[in-house]
């Protein structure tokens, strides 16, 4: 039995309480701001004790931001990003870890490099692709001269606009490698004996994938689902650019609309109340899923 060091435990509790307070304080303060009338939210410094206007401010934010539809859009966007990224990453990490094939290293790096250039930095060209997702194909056909064989008719008809669509909101954000990287790390910790045994039993790779890897990965998948859901939910710049139809926009964009710009009446209380509304779903996901979330990562090392 490990000794029970009281002093250390006491210290641990003190440290944790301080840590929790530090980490949580900005959010508490946002909650305070969201509950104040405007005169008080503009005081310097803003009060530390919550007021009684929380629901009122939230209602104002809800109306101004037209949050109803936006919450649905955000949920769809976040879910599709999480599901899509996990699916393609499970497969590609499997390929990279369990097979040896030409260009394996190249494929790995090709995927890995996508971590290095977030969408905000390549946003204008990405938007152009989103406006016509067939643009790369059209370019290829033109350069290779194939298009000329058909008198330019192919490229002229290759139009697939993703603007104002869920595909546009999600696909460009699925194009990065965090999940692949994580699954690769996880697969590397899985004992080789399992694959060996599967091979001896005569199981093919896909059977091994389905019967062994997937079940072992469920908890990791759950953990990643949380991470990616939050990632997708919190996107700002991309949904702002890609949607012009108000009914396609997301709640984070709706909240940003409430943040006072250069010269209007700075209704920070409403902005913060809106922030809380937008914050609630991902926080709930993180909290409700935390059992799976943490357990998934614990099981990694079994």
């Amino acid at each position: 039995m490990i000794e029970n060091n009281r002093l250390l435990s006491l210290f641990a509790h003190i440290f944790l309480l301080l840590g929790v307070a530090t980490v949580g304080f900005p959010l508490y303060y946002a909650f305070v701001g969201a509950s104040l009338p405007i005169q008080e939210v503009l005081q310097v410094p803003m009060p530390l004790i919550p007021g009684d206007r929380l629901l009122e401010n939230m209602a104002t934010a809800w109306d101004r931001g037209s949050f109803g539809r936006q919450l649905i859009n955000s949920a769809i966007m976040a879910t599709v990003i999480a599901a899509g990224k996990i699916t393609i990453s499970l497969l590609s990490a499997f390929a990279i870890t369990y097979f040896r094939f030409p260009c394996r290293t190249l494929a790995f790096w090709a995927i890995f490099v996508t971590l290095m250039l977030p969408i905000e930095v390549r946003i204008v060209p990405t938007y152009e692709v989103a406006a016509n997702a067939f643009a790369p194909l059209a370019w290829l056909l033109t350069v290779t001269g194939i298009d000329d064989l058909f008198g330019g008719r192919i490229t002229a008809n290759l139009q697939w606009s993703l603007l104002d669509s869920y595909a546009g909101l999600t696909l460009p954000l699925i194009a990065s490698a965090t999940a692949t990287f994580l699954f690769r790390q996880f697969y590397l910790t899985i004992p080789d004996d399992l694959a060996e045994a599967a091979k001896i039993d005569g199981a093919g790779p896909m059977r091994f994938f389905r019967d062994v890897l997937l079940p072992l990965s469920t908890t990791n998948i759950a953990a990643l689902a949380v991470i990616l859901f939050v990632f997708g939910w919190n996107q700002y710049l991309w949904p702002l650019l890609i949607t012009t139809d108000p009914s396609m926009t997301t709640v984070v964009v709706g909240v940003a609309r409430l943040i006072p710009g250069p010269e209007p009446l700075p209704a920070w209380n409403v902005a913060m109340a809106g922030g809380l509304v937008a914050l609630l779903p991902p926080v709930l996901v993180v909290l409700l899923m935390q059992h799976w979330f943490v357990k998934g990562l614990v099981d990694t090392e079994k």
Partner: protein, 438 residues
Amino acid sequence: MIARRTLLAAAGAATLALGVAQASAAPREINFWYPLGGAIGDLIVKMTNDFNSSQSDYKVVPQFKGSYDETFNAAVAAYRAKKHPHLLVGIGAGSLNLMLSGAIYPVEDLLKDHGQKVDWASFVQPVLDYYRTPDGKLLSLPFNSSTPIFWYNKDAFDKAGLTEPPKTWDDVGTYAAKLRQAGFDCGYTTAWQVWVNIDNYSFLQNVPVASQDNGMAGIETEFLFNKTRVVQHIARLQEWGKDGRFLYTGRTWQGAHGAFASGKCAMMTESSAGHAGIKQAAKFNFAASYLPHEKDVTPKNSLIGGGSIWAMAGHPKEDYAGVAAYLSFLTSTDRQVEWHKGTGYIPITKAAYEKAKAEGYYKENPHQEVAILQLMREGSTSNTKALRLGNYVQYVAAIEDELENIWGDKKTAQQGLDDAVRRGNEILARFAQQNRKR
């Protein structure tokens, strides 16, 4: 047989009629993107809804697109993909980039082409001038315009034994010292330091910010503010910073508002449109006056800020008739008065100003009249007409950087402004290179 033919014809006519009916039932959509959130965004939506319900041919879709930068970028990206809006609110100081973009339809032409008669002479001229070509054509419609004015805490002034707002910058220094003695943390602070203390300072003292008539006469421009009185002004503020007569509160408006409204700083230069925010937060009497000037000059007009509405090119001709109708709707006197009162921005027509005045609006809101009168001062010169330089966002960031080096005492005013001009000139040269071959 005949009956059948008649029937067919009747059916055809009915379909045709139905088609026409459908065409008129589905109004043409006009997209309008702007960077104004909060209560102002709400007012745009309200005014737009008024327009939409006043006729049935067009439906303007108002869309908030983030900050000025984000809105502009969204429009650029959309333009490249040919999905751009019809109307766009751009920041005034960034006008040159849009002007030379080849992507716009000058609003004066647009209105004329679609039979909207607008009496430009009835507009507030300094506001219009800002958006005109050198030969006088209006390129975009002034929309959310404001100008910086001088705000002061009346209770603090009483306490320090001061009765009148300061007229000159020397007064500001003296007042600041007195306020300090009366127990106030800081004397003077400013929002939007570049706009106020370089651009507007130069305008009032009638000195150039940049060559080529502040960029109005050509795009091969250079900054000049490191060779004018601006240097002494900045050096003076740096000096005041050492004993609390001046306090730097950040690049935008929040810091200055906080310092002023909490009673920390008793004097502030900030946009005339900042009133609503100050009023909500300040628990003391305050007032606004004209921007101070040097004691040996008769001050010229100030410079506007804010943004204007641009019409973007490349849409079907029929759409533009609706665009013209909408713009014309926005310039009507009643709309302008509603906008002026609802937002604190300056009215763009004299009629709206007169109407608001007749309604007694300026008795309750004297700061608004200060802004308008300060803008409309007679005797505008080539130094005070406008400021039109390329790559605004980039050069202003470089100047902010160097001003911070001055306030932080890392550089003298002259060194800092020299570096600001060097960096700014590189940015202007790059813009000129991009736009030379036209």
